[in-house]
């Protein structure tokens, strides 16, 4: 017999179950479907970063603060950082470029020497830290425009001011096809989709910019399973019966595989075998984070060539990289790497932090100090040990490990960068390989030979075999390298002279006559850093305008200093070998 009480209980249970079922059905309908995302494509399973954010809010936030995120963006008021309104023109080699924003669209208007006009719409931006480059769409291809915005100096610049080419080079020399070049490293899982039959492009990426997928690989299956709280908590509780669908985590990979994740872009590479380029262009980049990079690519080395094109100019003569985007090659050359046990040795995240720290370099404050090195080299942890090792006072720049073992002898994006070829500083390498050495980058007024003698005296065991160079290396190295080196050497030397002083000021004024705008760029910065009240010389101005602007600067120095600098310039630049370098990042 059904009592009123039991009827009430049944009704309550029925209602409760019905309500729970309704809630469950609604939640199910509102649940996204990640399984099979982009199925059949080379980027199958790749998610956009917004999808990762739902669970990994903290990691999303730290990534969002990086310059990786903003590497490639659609042009809009938030992404475009150049000045399109006030200081929005630049004339270089007689071509006038005007950048304007009209009805929410961005344009670059070029007026050639012959008066011919060209109007190009800016559709995408590349970069957001040092310079911002702009892309225009031409048919089914994106092309990099010749004018970029220097975010540090807050001015427009011709890309010739960023590469190692002299004035007078073709104005449009640096127009680059994005679909087959930049797309591979400035986005996630590039797919150029080149149709080899008619040479048409249908380029796609998993996500514009360098987002979660670039380092963590495809995550569709992981995200699909993670939608269930039961699955998530089984993972949290490390349930051994739960199916592991974790995405690639570079921090949990063996050190060599972890380095490959970064090396995929921070280590210029060639397809391996070479004819893989065909499928790369048609289908896309075969590499996913966590895989063995060397199965698909070989890092470019000094001796590599493609046809008649040689990569030698991108390296110092000893094979150490001298451009950025070769950090992988640098680190893997280092003794820190070579002497370590494979899989358990130094890797990029031994020092760099991808989810925290300063986005400028992705380093925590701690890792900007000697703590980075004393993680392993604990024998130099105390001030006494440090001074004994460096022969410099503990607080001086000569006792910062980075300055001697990772000197700024690499160029990239308008800056001198620390090499990732971690080495013992050897001044005699300047003699042997025409490569800047750490000692003379600080002791610019010393000759290389003096540095060699000093190093033999201070560290006899390490430098007993170093030989002094010929008479050229009796010159103060700042002066010799600034005038006798090739453009990369000259540019890096001018950068090392920042801020200028009374001794190298006249030399830097001479360097403002250099044929290579990038050398003048560093010289102008060095001068302006020391004399901020003076009008900064424009490194891209015509020779006439530049010389007119420099007249005021000459009065800062003694006439005999200026004469000596001019004489040194003329004497040392005789017979120097110029090497033009395209900075292929």
């Amino acid at each position: 017999m059904i009592t009123p009480r039991s009827a009430s209980a049944v009704t309550t249970c029925g209602f409760t179950l019905l309500a729970v079922a309704l809630v469950a059905a609604t939640v199910h309908l509102a649940t996204p479907d990640y399984a099979g995302i982009r199925a059949g494509r080379i980027d199958a399973g790749y998610l956009e970063s917004n999808n990762c954010r739902k669970c990994h809010e903290g990691n999303y936030a730290t990534w969002h603060a990086t310059f990786h995120r903003t590497m490639t963006q659609e042009a809009n008021p938030k992404s475009v950082l150049g000045d399109f309104e006030r200081d929005n023109t630049i004339t270089y080699q007689g071509v006038r470029a005007e950048m304007v924003r009209e009805n929410g669209r961005y344009w670059m208007k070029l007026t050639g020497v012959d008066g011919k006009k060209q109007q190009l719409e800016i559709g995408r931006t590349v970069g957001s830290r040092r310079i911002q480059q702009y892309l225009t769409k031409n048919g089914d291809q994106w092309a990099r425009l010749p004018i970029a915005y220097d975010l540090v100096q807050r001015r427009w610049m011709h890309l010739n001011g960023s590469f190692f080419y002299p004035d007078g080079s073709d104005y449009k020399q640096h127009l680059t096809e994005w679909n087959s070049n930049c797309v591979f490293c400035h986005n996630v899982k590039a797919q150029p989709h080149l149709d080899w039959t008619d040479r048409s492009w249908n380029t796609e990426v998993a996500e514009l910019g360098i987002a979660c997928g670039a380092c963590h690989g495809p995550a569709g299956e992981h995200a699909q399973h993670a939608l269930s709280p039961v699955t998530r908590y089984r993972w949290h509780m490390k349930d051994p019966t739960a199916r592991s669908l974790a995405v690639t985590n570079p921090a949990k990979l063996d050190s060599d595989r972890s380095a490959m994740v970064c090396g995929h872009c921070h280590g210029q590479r060639l397809p391996e075998p070479r004819d893989r380029i065909h499928t790369m262009m048609s289908d896309g980049d075969p590499y996913d984070a966590g895989k063995n990079l060397l199965e698909f690519y070989r890092p470019v080395q000094r001796e590599d060539k493609i046809g008649s094109f040689s990569f030698a100019s991108r390296f110092w003569q000893d094979g150490s990289p001298r451009l950025t985007a070769y950090e992988y090659q640098g680190m893997t050359r280092s003794k820190c790497f070579r002497a370590g046990k494979p899989g358990q040795r130094i890797t990029c995240i031994s020092c760099h932090e991808m989810h925290g720290g300063d986005p400028r370099g992705q380093l925590t404050e701690k890792m900007k100090t000697n703590a980075a090195c004393t993680q392993c080299h604990q024998q130099f942890s105390t001030p006494v040990q440090l001074v004994e090792h460096t022969k410099h006072s503990a607080e001086s720049s000569g006792s910062l490990c980075y300055n001697c073992h990772m000197p700024s002898i690499v160029y990239g994006v308008m800056s001198a960068h620390r090499t990732h070829d971690i080495t013992i500083p050897r001044p005699d390498e300047t003699v042997r390989f025409d490569k800047p050495n750490a000692c003379n980058l600080c002791h610019l007024d010393w000759s290389v030979n003096r540095a060699i003698v000093a190093s033999r005296r201070l560290w006899p065991n390490a430098f007993i075999d170093s030989k002094i160079g010929d008479r050229r290396f009796d010159e103060p190295e700042g002066q010799r390298a600034l005038f006798a080196g090739d453009a990369v050497m000259r540019g890096l030397t001018a950068a090392a002279m920042t801020p200028a002083n009374d001794v190298n000021g006249p030399l830097l004024l001479e360097a403002m006559q250099d044929r290579y705008p990038i050398v003048r760029y560093f010289a102008a910065n060095a001068l302006a850093a020391q004399y901020p009240a003076m009008p900064k010389p424009d490194y891209l101005a015509s020779p006439e305008k530049r010389n007119a602007a420099l007249q005021g600067w000459y009065s800062l120095f003694m006439p005999e200093q200026l004469r000596a600098a001019k004489e040194a310039h003329q004497r040392l630049s005789v017979g120097r070998v110029e090497v033009d370098v395209e900075v292929g990042e």
């Binding site: 009430s8 209602f15 409760t16 309500a19 729970v20 809010e57 903290g58 949290h236």
Partner: protein, 127 residues
């Protein structure tokens, strides 16, 4: 019920004061931990509100406006504890991007609360 309601309400008010203090004095224990902050906020909101509901239900029952059976009373009293305590514990000990395992107390409490609410409403309707 009325005793549990007032005492619990007092406890959750103290917890509210604690949250205010942590926010006021910019404590990283709360402010730098988004999961904990969310869970504590939910614990405080549910703890105070549900105990007010419990007090109201007890008063209504005393005034004979509604009838609350023993099982319903037990379910309601358990729900009022399980829901906010689930949030609280899940915020105290949690995983990197997920609340702690105690979060599973919350749906259990929610089902009990739902059943109790329906049962009280249904019995009132039948009266």
């Amino acid at each position: 019920m009325i005793c549990q309601g007032w005492i619990s309400l007092a406890a959750w008010i103290v917890f509210g004061l604690l949250i205010e203090g942590l926010i006021g004095f910019r404590s990283p224990v709360l402010l730098d931990d988004s999961v904990r902050r969310e869970m504590f906020r939910l614990a405080h909101a549910h703890g105070t509100l549900l105990n007010l509901v419990l007090i109201a239900a007890a008063i209504c029952a005393r005034l004979d406006l509604i009838g609350i059976g023993r099982v319903t009373s037990l379910g309601l009293r358990a729900a009022v504890v399980l829901l906010p305590v689930g949030f609280l514990l899940a915020g105290l000990w949690h995983f990197k991007d997920d609340p702690g395992i105690a979060i599973f107390l919350v749906p259990l409490g929610a089902v009990l609360l739902l059943g109790s609410a329906f049962q009280i409403g249904y019995s009132a309707f039948r009266r």
